[in-house]
Every structure is written in structure tokens, then in C-alpha cells.
Symmetry: C2
Subunit: 219 residues, 2 copies
């Protein structure tokens, strides 16, 4: 079970400093959508340059112009890029093709997707499916990240081949309920980046996952 | 009927040079999603600086983190920003609130939205609705922009109060079929930017709209 550190709502310098601190406890680094939209591909290039051997996810949240955006992310050094599951089939098809052509990963963000869309998406065996409670849903509901919400999304994918990522305000409180889902990737942002001590937070989360023998569905 | 020049798949310098050439024939300038994702908010700031009095649309295509992204666009000088109609209600609600708070416009992109989503969106009287044939749909189908597709989206909104924008490969061939829809905004990209002579293309389109007495639904 991999831990993906999501970096959002900060400058590139702050994001790199954060990643340097917790590097040892996280497996993948996500250059968040807010960094990409605020600073462009410079954010991805900066991470590739500072962390040449780390797996980097560009959370570009493509909804159109798929070949151009994915090429942009991969050229900047990303190992994976994200596309919204709510996009048109043409867009998702192109993203998956681009992933194959470049030998990189494609993560399909299931945010606000319908059951009809899921059924169309399961054809993409090579993609990572990201079950996601959005920042806006979390903030508007003033609620903690809901394991129930993630659970209800993920159980549909229980028997599938695809790798599954879970995202959306995951923290030490919600983690115990998520481990049984056996996700391949746990995407964690503010529970580390906004912690009083990010290093302690990252180490505690990593140790908790290990202590649960947090194996993913594909181990 | 306003003409919005969409600038995509070029550098900031190229985009500004393009806008300078055709400035006289276009009403609004759109800083395209590809510019924002490649160069960040610097793209919006550069346009605000060079065109202090022009109406600038940041095509940020928000799908989450609405307050942060819209604040980012408005702070960079955008007069309007875009949100995907496929986003969660919490995201769209926040974008509309942000527009009101900042006294700026919100454009809801109807790309790949369902009828259920349209019904939920019509509550936002103050938003501009953008009926949109995506780049990927155009490219995969190897088809010219389809007036039929735009028509079928727009006819649902015929009796509504909202302003309507049409987008997606619109050119001189497809324009005659679109004028009767009486859109408030015609979003035109490559028909100008990829033309042999962008100035001639922009002038021809502007003159055509004027010659048709191209009045929008709100004039």
C-alpha cells in the first residue's frame, strides 16, 4: 500500500521543502492541481529535478485537450497524470492511449462520476481508479473525510483488476476504516502538510499502515 | 453578440502577440486552459497587464478547490472564470458565490453534462452557460464543429434567462447555423489563431456577425 503525498495550496518552494522533510515516509509525490494551475508545468519540472528517482503524479485533472495536457505533464517529468472520469469518452480514451505510448500511468479521478460512467470506465484495466471525496464537499459539509463515502465508491470496484487510490482528507482518524478496503494507494494531503509536525504525522501514518500489515489488493 | 478569442496551445508571448493583432475585432479574451496549466497564473497576469481594459476570461475549468482557484484567477486579474458543469454541486455553488463576492462573472462549461445536471444548474441565473464541443470530440471524430451538437445543447436553454456562450471549433462554415441560436458569446479559437492571416479571419468573422445583425438573446 503506497502513500502518495498530495501537495496543494502552497508555493513550489514550500511544496519542495515539505516533500524533502517527509520524503522517507511517502512513496509517491503528487504535484497538486492548485500548484499546476498557479505555477504551471514549472511545478512538475521542479519536483522532477529535485527528486529524480521519486514517482511523481501530476494532478492535472484533464477534462479536454487530453493529448496536449498529458504530453505536457509527461515531458515535464511526471510518471503519472490524472484525468476526470466525468470527461467525454474521447478524452479518457486519449489519456489512456497517451499513458501507453509514453509508458506512464494514468489515474482516473472518480470525483462526481455516475454509475453509468463507472461502467464505461472499467474497460481501462491499466488505469488507476481514484475514489475521491472533493475538498469542496469536505468543506461545505464541514465534515471530516468520510470513510463511508469512499467505501461506497470503492466497493463497486472490489472485484476489479484496476489499482485503486483513495483520496479526500484522509487522516489518522479515518485511516482505520479505510485499511480493510486494501487500496493500492492512499493519497494524503493536509493530514501531513497541515500537521503541527509534518514529519511526525507522516511517520505515524506510515507506521500505522505497516502495523496494520496494510497490504493492497495487488500484493 | 460578443466574440471571445480563445488562446490555447501557444506560449504567453505568442498568445499576447495574437491578441494584439486581432484585438479590434474581438470583445473578450480567453486565457485558455492549456496556457493556465502550462504557465500558471502568470498567463492571466500577463494579459491583465497588457490589456488593462479588456474583459478577460480565465478558462481554469475548475472541478474542485473552487474558492482557492477562483480567488487565484480573480486576483490575477480575470473578469470571469470557468467551472465544469460536471463538478459536484458544492464546487459549482462555491464558484457562483465567489463570482458574486468579487463582482466577477462565472461561466459554467456544459461539456459532457447530463440532463439531470442541467436541471440542477439552471438555478444559477447569474452564470453564463457555455455549450461546448470539446477539442477531443472534434479530433477523435475528425469532424468539423457540429452546429447540430451545439444546437441540441442550446435549445434546452432557449427560454432561460442565462447568458449563453457557444464553443468548440466554431468557424466561418459553422457560423451561419449558429447565429439563429442568438448566443450572447461566440467563443472562437483556431478559426482565428490557426488562420493563414488571423487579422483577416477575425475581421471576416466580426463582419459576418454584424452583417447578420447578430443580436444575442439579451439584446
Amino acid at each position: 500500500m503506497k502513500i502518495q503525498l498530495a501537495l496543494d495550496r502552497m508555493t513550489i518552494t514550500e511544496a519542495i521543502h515539505m516533500a524533502e522533510q517527509v520524503d522517507f515516509y511517502v512513496d509517491w509525490i503528487e504535484v497538486g492541481t492548485s500548484l499546476i494551475k498557479e505555477f504551471g508545468m514549472e511545478s512538475v519540472r521542479a519536483f522532477r529535478s529535485r527528486f529524480p528517482d521519486k514517482f511523481i503524479v501530476a494532478d492535472v485533472k484533464t477534462v479536454d485537450n487530453a493529448a496536449y495536457e498529458f504530453d505536457m505533464c509527461f515531458s515535464a517529468g511526471a510518471d503519472a497524470a490524472t484525468v476526470m472520469g466525468t470527461s467525454s469518452p474521447a478524452t479518457i480514451e486519449t489519456c489512456v492511449e497517451m499513458g501507453g505510448r509514453h509508458g506512464r500511468q494514468v489515474m482516473i479521478d472518480l470525483l462526481h462520476t455516475t454509475e453509468t460512467q463507472w461502467k464505461a470506465l472499467i474497460q481501462y484495466k491499466e488505469a488507476i481508479f481514484c475514489a475521491h471525496v472533493s475538498k469542496d464537499q469536505q468543506e461545505m459539509g464541514k465534515q471530516q473525510p468520510s470513510a463511508d463515502q469512499l467505501h461506497s465508491i470503492v466497493k463497486r470496484f472490489g472485484g476489479l483488476e484496476q489499482k485503486i487510490a483513495l483520496a479526500g482528507g484522509i487522516n489518522l482518524d479515518s485511516l482505520p476504516a479505510l485499511i480493510p478496503i486494501r487500496p493500492d494507494i492512499l493519497i494524503i494531503g493536509s493530514a501531513i502538510t497541515k500537521a503541527f509536525d509534518p514529519v511526525v504525522a507522516a511517520r505515524t501514518i506510515k507506521e500505522f499502515v505497516i502495523s496494520c500489515k496494510g497490504e493492497s489488493r495487488h500484493e
